[in-house]
Amino acid sequence: MAALAIAGKDLRTEWRTKESLNASVSFALVILVLFSFAFDLDREELLAISGGLLWLVYAFAGALIVNRSFARELPNDCLDVLIASPAPGWAVFLGKAVACFLLLILVELISLPVFGLFYNIHWAGSIFPLLLVIALATWGITVVGTAFSAVTVNVRLRELMLPVLLYPLLIPLLIGAMEMTTGLLNGNAVLSDIRILLVFDAVFTSLSIYLIDFILVI
């Protein structure tokens, strides 16, 4: 229940200001545009890199969103209040992770049609497997990202350190997501790497929940 309350609080705060949402969506769109200039590809090559491209955009946008997650609690000692509240550590963590997850999914769903438009890629055909891959991989990004957001909340140069620490850890998840997305966008509905996403999500969700008390007490 506390988790839901915290998730609701984060979502409401974000919805009122829309600051990180706007930043993320704009960033995602800008990167999509930049990539279209970076490569001069024919249709075959474009389909081959489509998954990779999409998940790079999502990963960059995700870092922006999770960074705000614990950082927004710093002014007025809100973080101390959260830690001191009767809500257990894992509830705070899960609430924030769920809020980030929903925000990132929103950014991704906004970027997906734009991606399809710019690169002339048809994604609607395999929409359900695609949504499954997006959901699982996004949960992996948000759960690890939120944990690291908590870890780096008091670190100097937080905006710089969070991506540096986060991306290497996310590489196996991104590999799996990229492979499957490329396959799905090419028309093969084969979810062969789904195991990687499931294992990653399971391992890091449980690890984060278990370790969050150590992280938050610092």
Partner: protein, 226 residues
């Protein structure tokens, strides 16, 4: 006593390494398929194994720190990570040179080399984050958390890359340590032992530096108080 241990380990390790070189270059028969470049394996693989051993020590020390909150575990963790990272760099450099000779490319995204690169990146982040946190307890806790996350990621990385490679058919290293001819085993094992000894000497030096740093911190606080 500590100094003697460090010198002892260091000298023993260096001597073993030199003796090993004699064996590697003058005694071992040449590999028919790969030629002389094969001899680089006697640095490449022992460095990887030493790095793994020290990363393992680092993770255990990190867990011990979270459990006991004793700073000597944090010192052990950072020392082990630093030395492990150095050996990983040796592994990556020698692996890259070997790849250049074997397959004509400086890097092949095969499972093992990429896992090593991942380890390097993950623990490089660990080493980069430490100076960014001023408060010792915070720094130690964060480092411990990072170290545990990094260690948890490694099996997933290996799994992901192996699945990835099955379809893209990148060249993989031909060597499987099980297939090493018997005549190659002695210098191989001695190489591992030598690296472990040298690495342990470096870790002990680093541990002493960490405790001196803590002493400096407490002296600074004392000076402020006086």
């Amino acid at each position: 006593m500590r100094e003697k241990t460090i010198y002892g380990l260091g000298i023993l390790g260096t001597l073993l390494l030199l003796w090993n070189f004699y064996t590697i270059f003058l005694v071992i028969p040449i590999d028919a398929l790969q030629g002389n470049i094969f001899r680089i394996i006697f640095i490449h693989v022992p460095a990887a194994m030493t790095a793994f051993a020290f990363y393992g020590v680092a993770v255990l020390a990190s867990i011990a720190f979270l459990w006991t909150k004793n700073f000597k575990w944090d010192s052990m963790a950072v020392s082990a990570v630093e030395v492990g990272t150095m050996f990983t760099l040796v592994n990556l450099a020698t692996g890259s040179i070997w790849a250049r000779v074997e397959w004509g490319i400086w890097w092949a995204w095969d499972a093992r080399m990429t896992t090593q690169l991942m380890l390097f990146l993950l623990y490089l982040g660990y080493l980069l984050m430490r100076p960014a946190v001023a408060e010792p307890t915070q720094r130690a806790t964060m480092s411990a958390i990072l170290s545990i996350f990094a260690a948890a990621d490694i099996p997933v990385v290996f799994m992901a890359i192996r699945l990835h490679n099955v379809r893209t058919q990148h060249p993989g290293p031909v060597l499987e340590t099980g297939g090493l001819a018997p005549v190659y085993w002695p210098p191989f094992l001695i190489g591992i032992v030598a690296f472990l000894l040298l690495g342990s000497a470096m870790i002990l030096v680093r541990l002493h530096q960490e405790s001196s740093s803590r002493e400096i911190d407490s002296l600074r606080r004392e000076l402020h108080a006086i």
